[in-house]
């Protein structure tokens, strides 16, 4: 039974993925070595540093502590699944670049995924909420200040985009109202 593998099927970055692997393999090794998704990094390998953070059904987890068996039927997002198909970066990635929140870059994939998980649940996080959400991701270069600012900035950008959509919707409604009133006048 020792080297027995099994078929593990899960959704990886939006794609149904099927891979033959040992159930007690680490998800980190399955992603990196079997699927070639090397954006997920190994730091400590002990669940302390968060470099291996992936999203499992939208929640951040340490891929170094996750047995491959636990991927069965689940939804996984790695850093490779964050940018658009055309390579366009998402708001968090843009904000990290803008704020200079990257130095060596080793912690960045995990940071970006933890930040995205936070913003999905809490679109307007305050600084303590950001610090709490990133408390499982260590950065040994930046001192965290720029990373926290990047997450604030990404949240702001998302809110500005949301505001623009609302304003546009308001304008459309006003225009429709004007059209209806005009039509009313024309028929009377």
């Amino acid at each position: 039974m020792k080297d027995e593998t099994m078929r593990i099927e899960f959704t990886c970055n939006g794609k149904l993925t099927s891979v033959e692997a040992r159930l007690d393999m680490r998800a980190l090794d399955l992603l990196r070595d079997l699927l070639g998704l090397t954006g997920t990094k190994e730091g400590c390998g002990r669940g302390e540093c968060g470099a291996c953070t992936i999203l499992l059904d939208d929640e951040p987890v340490n891929a170094c502590l996750l047995y491959a068996a636990k991927l069965q039927g689940r939804r996984v997002q790695t850093i490779e699944g964050v940018a658009g198909a055309d390579g366009s970066l998402d708001a968090v990635q843009e904000a990290f670049l803008e704020e200079g929140a990257v130095q060596c870059g080793y912690c960045t994939p995990g940071m970006v995924l933890s930040a995205r998980a936070l913003l999905r649940k809490n679109p307007k996080p305050d600084v303590p909420a950001i610090e709490e959400a990133l408390s499982g991701n260590f950065c040994r270069c930046t001192g965290y200040g720029k990373i926290v600012r990047a997450v604030q900035s990404a949240a702001g950008a998302a809110q500005r985009a949301e505001g623009a959509v609302q304003r546009a919707e308001g304008a459309v409604q006003r225009a429709e109202g004007a059209v209806q009133r005009a039509a009313g006048k024309a028929s009377s």
Binding site: G47, P60, L66, K70, E132, S135, G136
Partner: protein, 278 residues
């Protein structure tokens, strides 16, 4: 090592009872590190119980609440139907990543003296339902832990339910821990307090501390000093002095004996005042 995913309790008990040395795994956040570091014997069989529906979630029962041991620490931390000390203890564990995988049953069965759900469960006088192929038994939390990383769980036995009685849901409780930093720190000491108040008077008290003895400890002397006291103007100093005499801390990698004795009082004071609402 063979790894098997169980989908029902019966299947898990069959697998665990069928081979010597086999052991259950839920979140795996502790076991994976132990195995990676070569700190423990590699079991011939790991039985993954995290996905068993009957072991997940929290439900009301006729006489209280039943917590599925495979409920994640992240969920325990955010539930409003559980006593505050248990939620606060869960919140103190690991990082968001760890809390999303780790389970309350894993924290309990791991039986580390610094486990942050242990002192709350002891203060709440939780009962643990243990099952094996030969039947089930119920063990009070206080008697479940027998030493650091040692419990009364026998071979082939699995924790299948954690029960908290209605009376404990009615009171007020609080938890405090201290570690070397805020994020991801392991407790050097933790403390849980539960109080039943009636017209501003403490009718019943439960006090438990972790990391100051080989097992999470009920401080019955301190509890006795609290009963009958008026919350307003409560003098906690005699209670803290009694607590300090009841604990048996050691010096280890995380803290010295003297430090543990000192901060136990501070943590208990904070937890007491919060539980008493003063």
């Amino acid at each position: 090592m063979e790894y098997r995913v169980a989908t029902t309790v019966e299947e898990a008990l069959e697998a665990l009872g069928g081979r010597d040395g086999s052991r259950p795994v839920a979140g795996g956040t502790d076991l994976a590190v132990v195995l990676a570091d070569g700190l423990g014997a590699v079991p011939p069989l790991l039985v993954d119980v995290a996905g068993i529906p009957a072991l997940q979630g929290v439900r009301r029962t006729a006489d209280g609440i039943a917590i599925g041991p495979a409920t994640t620490i992240a969920e325990i931390a955010t539930r409003s139907d559980l006593p505050a000390c248990l939620c606060q203890g869960a919140r103190a564990i690991g990082s968001p990543q760890i809390r999303n995988l780790a389970t309350i049953g894993g924290n309990v069965c791991n039986a580390s003296p610094c486990g942050d759900t242990l002192s709350p469960l002891v203060a709440l006088e939780a009962a643990f339902v243990l099952a094996s192929r030969s039947g089930t038994r119920t063990v009070p939390a206080e008697l479940f832990f027998v030493g650091p990383k040692k419990t009364v769980l026998g071979p082939g036995e699995l924790l299948v339910e954690i029960r908290i009685a209605s009376a404990r849901l009615a009171g007020r409780s609080a938890f405090r821990m201290i570690g070397k930093r805020n994020g991801q720190a392991i407790s050097q000491v933790n403390a849980a307090v539960w109080l039943a108040l009636e017209g501003g008077v403490i009718r019943e008290a439960r006090v438990a501390v972790g990391s100051v003895a080989p097992v999470p400890l009920r401080l019955k002397g301190a509890e006795a000093l609290l009963v009958g006291k008026t919350v307003r103007g409560l003098d906690v100093e005699p209670v803290l002095a009694r607590a300090a005499a009841e604990i048996a801390p050691i010096s280890d990698v995380r803290a010295s004996l003297e430090y543990r004795r000192l901060v136990t009082g501070s943590l208990l004071r904070d937890a007491l005042l919060e539980a008493a609402g003063i």
